[in-house]
């Protein structure tokens, strides 16, 4: 532990207290932590003077509810021995670092750029070939970036033997909008950008952004505001899980399920509309608190709406998950074994469906989750069934939380003074969005201006989980596997 500064979710640390090492000390220290169950939640560079980069590592210790910070100084354009060789979960973080700073993790197994950023320093992704395999039975299927449905763009390259997928390479980056530099430069429009990082997780990202600002300022939002944020976050979780069940039901041609879940998602997002004027929770969360209060009438409308929806969702889900024809499509399809899930650093409900007990609401509680504790729910089988059924279980949990929170709203204001960050501090803010842990890490300069905002959507970790899940499955099950993870393209591409 000597190599790390220990902190917690939303607890700022003076930059000078984050230890700095040479790579010869930094690398084994970080890797030994990962070997004892810590997860990497941040691994990124910050410009540190002419042609030098300070590389930060943030690790989550879920059992101890703590976050470990350390750093290392690197020469620009330099090279070091890849962490991925010893700790697979670094694979995507190192690709990102390579792309952004041109620093080479030597011996990385697949050092392809992540998202062709406008401001990137590595070579163009076009110059980097797709993984290919040969053999008389082998054929290649190429999908995207534009897909057949109304979804975001991404490219999938399958290597198949007959109908069986041997390997899937997922190439993203098409959605890259340069979110991080925009957030770093932003003034009052910052929260609006955070709401649009990933438009199906508006409340999750906006809450992480707001908490980061509050924490960097040593301030906090009023308790009532925290509970209203959590109500909106649970509405978002319940709505998106219901949408996911609807889409999965559609993918297995269980059309009554698709229709019923779809219609009841409408009731849940209309509760968000009632709360803040947006079906996606836009315009609610701001640094310092929230902009809309919940009075008794609103609380009743929200509860009535979600309880009615849940009654319908429950009877449909019980029917669906009891049908042999449904189970035969979901069970043992798209399996990610626990050991693989741990290795690649899977997060969120996909991790919990593979037997990994992590949920930031319980492990790193902040805001309302301190007073409204959540017990994480875990399944073991790691297949499409587990991911679908766990989402159903989490809908029920969210509905209970929404009822509980609406009934027990603390008194008081909903907005504190606008936070103003201190100088030379670093802080990590983690929010368990419906997909998993959303991490915002902020670093300020000596004047309290944002020097770095690092955003990590859970999709960044989990896309590789999908690639593993489809191996040895029929290629026709890809849409089902894809929907069972329900990942974000723009959350990955930023």
């Amino acid at each position: 532990m000597d190599h790390f500064k220990l902190t917690k979710n939303n607890r700022p640390v003076a930059l000078k207290d984050v230890p700095e090492f040479s790579m010869t000390e930094f690398r084994p220290a970080v890797i030994s932590m990962c070997e004892t169950g810590k997860r990497v939640i941040g691994f990124f560079g910050v410009d540190a003077g002419p042609s030098r980069t300070r590389l930060y590592a943030a690790l989550a210790d879920d059992d101890a509810s703590s976050i470990l910070l350390s750093s290392c100084l690197l020469e620009a354009g330099g090279s070091y021995r890849s962490f991925t060789q010893d700790a697979t979960m670094f694979h995507i973080f190192e690709r990102e670092l390579f792309e952004a700073f041109g620093i080479t993790p030597a011996g990385h197994p697949w050092l392809k750029p992540v998202r062709y950023p406008a401001e990137g320093k590595a070579e163009n992704m076009d110059a980097y070939p797709f993984f290919a395999s040969t053999g008389s039975e082998m054929h290649e299927v190429s999908v995207g970036p534009v897909h057949a449905g109304i979804i975001e763009p991404g490219h999938f390259r399958f290597q198949c033997a007959g109908e069986k997928v041997q390997h899937l390479e997922i190439q993203l980056g098409y959605q890259h909008r340069g979110v991080e530099p925009l957030l770093e430069r932003a003034g009052a429009e910052g929260p609006h950008i955070a709401e649009s990082v990933c438009g199906d997780t508006v409340v999750g990202h906006a809450s992480a952004y707001a908490s980061l600002f509050e924490s960097l300022s040593g301030a906090d939002a009023p308790r009532r505001a925290h509970v209203i944020r959590a109500i909106a976050l649970e509405l978002e979780r319940a709505a998106m899980h219901t949408a996911g069940l609807s889409a999965m039901a559609g993918d297995i041609a269980y059309l009554v399920g698709s229709a019923v879940f779809g219609a009841n998602r409408t009731k849940i997002i209309n509760a968000s509309l009632r709360l803040c004027g947006s079906r996606f929770g836009r315009g609610l969360v701001r640094p310092g608190g929230v902009l809309f209060d919940i009075d008794a009438a609103t609380a009743k409308e929200i509860k009535d709406s979600v309880n009615e929806a849940y009654d319908r969702i429950r009877e449909m889900a019980e029917q669906m998950f009891g049908a042999a024809s449904v189970l035969s499509r979901l069970q043992q399809t798209g399996v990610v074994a626990k050991q693989d899930a741990v290795k690649i650093g899977l997060t969120g409900f996909a991790a919990r469906a593979s037997g990994i007990a992590i949920d930031a609401r319980e492990d790193h509680p902040s805001g309302a989750y301190i007073n409204f504790p959540v017990r994480k729910q875990v399944l073991e089988s790691g297949d499409c069934f587990a991911r679908a059924y766990l989402r159903y279980m989490e809908i029920g949990q969210s509905i209970r939380l929404i009822n509980d929170m609406c009934d027990n709203l603390p008194q008081g204001n909903i907005m504190a003074e606008e936070p103003s960050p201190s100088g030379n501090v670093i802080c990590a803010s983690v929010v368990e969005g419906w997909r998993g842990g959303i991490v915002y890490i902020g670093i300020t300069d000596e004047n309290g201006m944002m020097k770095k905002i690092k955003v990590k959507d859970p999709s960044f970790n989990n896309w590789y989980g999908l690639a593993l899940a489809v191996r040895n499955n029929g290629i026709s099950d890809f849409p089902l596997c894809n929907k069972s993870f329900d990942l974000s393209y723009c959350g990955n591409d930023l």
Binding site: Q175, P181, H192, S196, G199, C276, S278, C490
Partner: protein
């Protein structure tokens, strides 16, 4: 099986019978109402995250607006006030500016003029191809919702296709990232003529909250004319459905 029928019956009738008359919850931020002019104590333009507000005369650009309501909170004399009026699609960029003149109904009436050639060719069947070019999945989810059992857009013969070869119109969401510039042009080229273009959401119409990013390439909109603008962040499914129905003269 009998259980499924019971579940189905308990769902009752979910679809909205008349999408033109449908009213969205009063909390919804739709078409803004502009009252009077920007006086000395008017500061709402400085809080707008996308610079959508102009002072002389006081107007709000629906193509830039992200409907956050920050301006309304900054108005001391009710100069800008969002209403829940959702039928706010327009057919040309100059109509995106909302001023103090006219009612919501007048805005809608002027907003989209049915073009006889579009009505003649696509009036009874309109197939659309959707491309997200940096869309955050907000607009995409609302377009998907337009197809669900509540809004049921396919009942009008308006639907999304899986291939550009079958499409009459291209629906674009997102601010147009550099990395999608090639794919969006190719998709448009792959569609047989005649064809229309629909820009959905403030990102597509103006770049929205991402307008200042270096990672965008909006050349496509310089090269091709947009036939329908659907404002919102994201637009309500009813804004989209009513906009297309108006283009088709229905």
């Amino acid at each position: 099986m009998s259980n499924i029928i019971e579940i189905r019956m308990r769902q009752g009738r979910q679809f909205i019978p008349d999408v033109k008359k449908a009213v969205v919850n009063g909390a919804f931020r739709g078409l803004p109402e502009i009252n009077g002019r920007a006086g000395d104590d008017f500061t709402a333009d400085s809080v707008c995250p996308t610079g959508a507000i102009t002072r002389e005369p006081l107007s709000l650009d629906l193509g830039k607006c992200v409907f956050c309501g920050d301006c309304q909170r900054a108005c001391k004399n009710n100069e800008i006030k969002f209403t829940n009026f959702h039928r706010m699609s327009v057919d040309s960029p100059d109509k995106l500016k909302v001023t103090a003149a006219g009612s919501a109904e007048a805005f809608e009436k002027e907003g989209v003029k049915c073009r006889s050639e579009i009505k003649r060719i696509f009036g009874r069947s309109m197939k659309l191809r959707q491309v997200s070019a940096g869309g955050c999945n907000g607009c995409e989810m609302e377009l998907n919702a337009a197809l669900n059992v509540n809004f049921d857009m396919p009942r009008f013969g308006i639907d999304f296709t899986a291939s550009p070869r079958h499409a009459d119109g291209l629906v674009i969401t997102g601010p147009l990232t550099k990395n999608m510039a090639f794919a969006i042009e190719e998709t448009y080229r792959a569609m047989p003529g005649p064809k229309i273009i629909i820009a959905v959401g403030s990102c597509a119409i103006s770049g929205g909250i991402f307008a200042g990013s270096k990672a965008l390439d909006r050349e496509f909109f310089s090269a091709h004319k947009v036939d329908l603008f659907v404002p919102g962040c994201p637009p309500h499914p009813l804004t989209f459905i009513n906009g297309i129905l108006s283009v088709l003269g229905r």
